[in-house]
């Protein structure tokens, strides 16, 4: 009786869930990419992370901040894993404002690995004003802040199209298949051959979009590899312990004439 009821329960729930597509018909589902960091043992593609950082630095960083990341993160395990020298060189290539000094003056100095990523604008208002009234969001946790995650970010990057007939766009507004409402204020910044990859990979739009999305996925979840690795160990440990406790329980309960 209970079993048939549970079946009924599951069926009615499935029915409800199948109603779901009624809700949002105007938006196109993001492209599903087989990311290396998906799944229980997923890891980031190191080379892709390094290339993605290059795309971020040369293209995205002129408008988007990543204020929660530090240059040292680039050398930490589970990330792009640049060498110590490379991280120092990357950090030193930025002029960071520091101070006040003993005279009360602010000054600039070359960046250090402990510095946070330098933001392109001093504040949100400045960023908004410089970009036609649309604030380019901070990208530190962008992948976690969008429904669809990495798939969505990648899709938007490759989703620029000419607007369908009948759709008129204001100046500074672009048509994007995957963006909510199909209107986006970020221009299509990627074009084939835009960056010259240090490792010689051909920089197609698709390649750059994948690389920078991988980089952003890591930026949002720098703990991902350690989390996956620890998770597998924790689950194995718990399963073994559960088996032992189960056997102990059976043994203890064999003393009474009752089922467990």
């Amino acid at each position: 009786m209970i079993k048939s009821n549970i079946k009924l329960l599951v069926l009615s729930f499935l029915l409800l869930i199948s109603l779901r597509p009624l809700q949002s018909a105007e938006m196109v589902d993001p492209i599903k990419v087989d990311w290396s960091f998906k799944g229980l043992t997923g890891k980031f593609d190191r080379a892709s992370l390094q290339r993605g950082f290059q795309v971020y630095k040369e293209v995205c960083a002129s408008c988007h901040s990543m204020q929660y990341l530090s240059y040292r993160n680039l050398g930490e395990p589970g990330g792009p894993e640049f060498s110590e020298q490379e991280v120092k060189a990357i950090a030193a290539s930025f002029e960071i404002e520091d101070g006040p000094d003993s005279q009360g003056e602010m000054f600039t100095r070359p960046g250090k690995p402990s510095d946070k990523f330098k933001s392109p604008y001093p504040n949100v208002q400045a960023a908004t004003a410089a970009n036609g009234g649309a604030y380019p969001p901070d990208m530190s946790v962008l992948v976690k802040a969008r429904k669809g995650g990495a798939n969505y970010i990648y899709s938007v990057l490759v989703g620029y199209e000419d607007p369908p007939p009948g759709v008129t766009l204001d100046d500074g507004v672009y048509y994007n298949k995957y963006m909510a409402g199909n209107k986006i204020k970020m221009p299509n910044n990627l074009m084939d051959g835009l960056v010259e990859y240090a490792d010689g990979t051909e920089s197609t739009v698709d390649q750059m979009a994948k690389d920078v999305t991988t980089f952003l996925a890591w930026a949002a979840e720098p703990e991902l590899e350690e989390r996956h690795k620890t998770g597998v160990k924790v689950i194995i440990y718990l399963v073994l312990l559960t088996i032992l406790v189960y056997l102990s329980m059976k043994k203890i309960w064999s003393r009474v004439d009752s089922e467990v």
Binding site: L22, Q23, G231, V234
Partner: protein
């Protein structure tokens, strides 16, 4: 409850126990006679205790690094995620722990509904349990505000605005709750303070909940009283402790699955966008465990009516022991009520589902039907079915084999007998 008086063996133990009988309490908890037929639905009490302790411990650590300030809260959470050693683990345990806590408490509540555990003589256990549940919802709601993301901010705005529906003094109360003229830094500060306080109130109520439980003892799947303690019960330790431990471990595997492999699946992506009072999210939704009540709230076109109905949905549970007229506790022997129980389960799941959807079209219709049934179940179905239903024969005692319908009358007792 102990059948024999406990005396410590050592002299020092006796000296201490005469002054503070902690050892007697320990002996009582170990020997506590527990029905031997408890099934796995009964393991959620222990699981819930584990959840509470986990939330308190991880919460205390998080509070060491968190900054309750509107300008710094979001960044401090990212600091925890990135710079604090294993901060990501502690935060993900805490945020997923809230969901696991509610998952367990809903199973615990529905178990009580199925087996009639709220009925005499356990009404006080039930009422204390509901108070714990109410405090849990308050704590979870305030905790969700602390990261100061978009859903934090707008969830807080929607929920606190409910109080403005109160006639005459509504707006004053809302301003008083906010400590400002909108949800702002003072709101965040007080929510943090209360979020830290409430778990300890819950802990106190849990002690009372267990104390009240140990007066009549556990209910059990057949829902009848213990006849012969020697035959019907087992000592709590080691029988129940090992069984609870096993169930807890299975629960922990699922918990770990969420924490390590899909830590954000139960949350809303908008909460990784810093709070912005100028941008309203397309859909403001609470966490999943509050969705059925959210659906009830939105099913009423009138704001005050919605608020009243939403609070009634919880407070009606307080009088449940007196709405249920059946003399039989366990739904195992209640063929009609059992059907209605499962309809209620489906109804609540459906309300939860439509609570996550925009309040329009088919979803609004479903929300209204679901809300009406929810109240009908408690106000009409429970009293009427309890009165009219012909229940199945119930066994003489826990240790007697469970009867199928129409066996020897010597073993089966009539429903009308006092259970």
């Amino acid at each position: 409850m102990s059948e024999h008086e406990y005396t410590p063996k050592s002299k020092a133990g006796k000296w201490f126990n005469d002054r503070l009988p902690l050892l007697t309490l320990g002996a009582h908890l170990t020997d506590y006679p527990t029905p031997k037929n408890l099934n796995y639905w009964w393991t959620f009490g222990g699981i819930l205790t584990f959840c509470l302790i986990t939330q308190i411990v991880t919460g205390i650590v998080l509070a060491m690094h968190y900054v309750a300030h509107a300008d710094l809260a979001f960044a401090s959470v990212e600091h925890i995620m990135r710079d604090v050693n294993y901060g990501w683990l502690i935060r993900y345990i805490h945020s997923n722990g809230a969901s696991m806590f509610f998952l367990a408490v809903y199973i615990h509540i529905f178990r009580s509904l199925f087996y009639g555990s709220y009925k005499s003589p356990r009404e006080v256990i039930w009422i204390i349990g509901l108070m714990i549940y109410l405090l849990m919802m308050a704590a979870a709601f305030m905790g969700y505000v602390l990261p100061w993301g978009q859903m934090s901010f707008w969830g807080a705005t929607v929920i606190t605005n409910l109080f403005s529906a109160i006639p005459l003094v509504g707006d004053s109360i809302t301003t008083w709750l906010w400590g400002a003229y909108s949800v702002d830094n003072p709101t965040l500060n007080r929510f943090f303070s209360l979020h830290y306080l409430i778990p300890f109130l819950i802990l106190g109520l849990v002690v009372l909940h267990i104390w009240a439980l140990h007066v009549p003892g556990n209910n059990n799947p057949v829902g009848i009283d213990i006849k012969k303690p020697s035959k019907d019960t087992v000592p709590f330790h080691p029988y129940i402790t090992i069984k609870d431990a096993f169930a807890l471990l299975v629960f922990m595997i699922i918990f770990a699955g969420f924490v390590f492999f899909t830590p954000n699946v139960l949350g809303h992506s908008d909460n990784y966008i810093p709070a912005n009072p100028l941008v309203t999210p397309a859909h403001i939704v609470p966490e999943w465990y509050l969705l059925p009540f959210y659906a009830i709230l939105r099913s009423v076109p009138d704001k005050l009516g919605g608020v009243i109905l939403m609070f009634s949905a919880i407070f009606i549970l307080f009088v449940l022991p007196w709405l249920d007229t059946s003399k039989v506790r366990s739904a195992v022997f209640r063929p009609i009520y059992r059907q209605f129980f499962w309809i209620l389960v489906i109804d609540v799941l459906m309300l939860g589902y439509v609570g996550a959807m925009p309040a329009e079209g088919i979803y609004l219709v479903l929300a209204r039907v679901g809300t009406i049934y929810y109240f009908l179940h408690f106000i009409v179905v429970m009293p009427v079915v309890g009165y009219l239903e012909k229940t199945d024969p119930i066994p003489m005692s826990i240790s007697e084999p469970v009867l199928t319908g129409g066996t020897e009358p010597s073993l089966a007792r009539k429903v009308n007998d006092k259970v």
